[in-house]
């Protein structure tokens, strides 16, 4: 019973922590734009949280630079279970244009497990909502 309530609330209102692992800012401003009046992600219960300890979903941008690698791992470990990771943007998915740079890992999934990928450089705010909804639908149908 309690588990069902927790699961229902998680699906209805995912709290998202945004982490920049070395992206160009393009994805990051699109994430904020998704929360602004035009797209207004909050009407679907999506809330952006500053701390990973409160978050269900880690929305991660950037190709993971050498300095941010350890910090990304730390942030991931701080999140409570069950936790989901979304690789946001082309360079978060695969490294994209930064392929060949000496200081990048080339994608979030090289460092932490990723549940969903949102491609695009940068993806439009609609794509964020679509990605989050698909992830939660998959979670809802699991078990």
């Amino acid at each position: 019973m309690l588990e069902n309530v927790v699961k229902w609330s998680r699906v209805k209102s995912p709290w998202v922590c945004h982490f920049n692992s070395g992206s160009c800012n393009g994805c990051d401003i699109e994430i904020i734009a998704a929360l602004m009046p035009r797209f207004d992600a909050e009407r679907f219960g999506v809330v952006l949280k500053g701390t990973p300890r409160h978050a269900d979903v880690l929305l991660c941008t950037g190709p993971v630079t050498g300095q941010m690698k350890d910090r990304l791992l730390k942030i991931y470990e701080q999140m409570p279970e069950p936790k989901f990771v979304i690789a946001f943007g082309e360079c978060g998915c695969s490294g994209a244009v930064y392929t060949g740079c000496y200081n990048v890992e080339g994608g979030i999934d090289k460092v932490i497990p990723v549940d969903a990928y949102i491609p695009g450089c940068p993806p439009k705010p609609e794509a964020i909502l679509d990605g989050v909804v698909k992830l939660l639908t998959a979670f809802k149908e699991s078990e």
Binding site: F19, M36, Q67
Partner: protein, 393 residues
């Protein structure tokens, strides 16, 4: 009073990139500040050397997602200087038009972020909603909201139609009205005045000594703007004023940016009404002869410099980028000295950092050996609460 050191960063919740400030405080007053940068160092300057000029146009756009167009303009200009190619006038006008659109979107973005930092979230919602209008124009003309792929060596890629020109003029009318409202809010709203006046003062002498750029420099009463002092693209033909402020503080920066918005709207109108006819680009060879060039542009945040050296192949030998935030970080470290802890978010946001991070703040008390971790949100709430009880201000 005992000295306490507060590290700020490098993780963050909003739109800023990772960066770390070490702030030493005595009570509420900051006595020393140190900056550590390089958390998002990707090694792009090395990457430029492995890619062709055509590929590099797209990579320079991705140096920064907010001033993407300025960086690609700079790279294309430097390449044109070496090639000795002058783009057609219509191409230059369209390039300038996009640069000014970018200034509108960036200044509105800054206005919202500054509003958020001072606890005035209504302003954030308003200005970001208006920002969507300019992103719609970007999408209409270039096909993308953030990274445009509009520039090319020798001009621009797409022409605009008469219908698009009408849509631009219509949007400019709306934006002019909205900007006037923001100026009224900025000059009269008590929330803004109390949080920004007298905060983050950088004197004219210090601004020159620390090589400040952009609105930060102009808010310190220095009349310097690359668009006016060293005109590039079509700026030499446009009528506009360089806005300065003599208040030297964060409020001065707000006024400078708001009035610049108005100038920019007028410039866009002028460009649409006086758009030359003809080609938008010239064909250029793939290989660039040996040579070197420096290109300067006025990004929304300040002066942006690209240094390019070519060696006769289709790949550059060296491309050095000096972004405006790099120049402004020095004066932030200086301005923070003597300020309140509560003013940190606003002073750092004041320069509109392209990589700034304020998320996790660790307050360490060396004498008591206690430590307290504050998130950026907590710090923001702390600063708002601290100001609410300061009735004398």
């Amino acid at each position: 009073m005992s000295r306490v050191t507060i590290p700020i960063g490098p993780q963050h919740p909003a739109l800023k990139e990772p960066e770390r400030f070490m702030v030493t405080v005595e009570g509420e007053t900051i006595v020393d500040a140190d900056v550590r940068i390089g958390h998002i160092h990707r090694g792009m300057e090395k990457l430029f050397e492995q890619r062709t000029y055509m590929q590099n146009i797209h990579i320079t756009e991705r140096i920064c997602g907010i001033c993407s167009f300025t960086h690609s303009t700079n790279f294309c200009q430097a390449t044109e200087y070496i090639l000795g190619v002058e783009p057609p006038r219509r191409g230059l006008y369209l390039r300038t038009l996009m640069n000014e659109f970018e200034r509108i979107h960036s200044h509105l973005l800054w206005l919202g972020v500054a509003g958020h930092e001072m606890g005035f979230d209504t302003l954030l919602m308003w200005s970001w909603d208006d920002r969507e209008r300019i992103l719609d124009l970007f999408e209409d003309i270039t096909g993308n909201r953030v990274t445009h792929a509009y520039n090319t060596v020798g001009g621009v890629r797409r022409d605009i139609t008469d219908a698009q020109a009408q849509r631009i003029l219509h949007t400019m009318d709306i934006l002019e009205e909205r900007t006037k409202a923001y100026i009224q809010v900025g000059l009269n709203e008590q929330t803004i005045l109390k949080r920004t006046q007298g905060v983050g003062i950088l004197t004219t002498a210090d601004a020159k000594r620390l090589c400040a750029v952009g609105p930060r420099l102009r808010a310190s009463n220095v009349k310097y703007d690359v668009r006016k002092n060293d005109p590039y693209a079509a700026y030499g033909e446009l009528p506009f004023e360089v806005i300065t402020s003599d208040t030297l503080d964060v409020h001065g920066q707000l006024v400078v940016r708001a009035l610049e918005l108005l100038e920019t709207v007028n410039m866009c109108r002028y460009m649409i009404k006086n758009l030359p006819t003809g080609d938008i680009r010239v064909k250029v060879p793939r290989k660039v002869p040996p040579g070197e060039a420096i290109s300067r542009t006025e990004a929304p945040r300040g002066e942006d410099i690209h240094y390019l050296r070519s060696n006769g192949t289709d790949k550059p030998e060296r491309l050095k980028v000096r972004a405006p935030t790099m120049a402004n970080i020095l004066n932030v470290a200086h301005t923070l000295k003597g300020a309140n802890i509560a003013d940190i978010p606003l002073i750092v946001a004041g320069i509109d950092p392209c990589m700034g991070c304020m998320d996790r703040v660790l307050i360490l008390d060396r004498d008591k050996e206690t430590s307290k971790v504050m998130t950026k949100d907590q710090l923001r709430e702390y600063s708002i609460a601290w100001y609410e009880k300061e009735a004398y201000r």
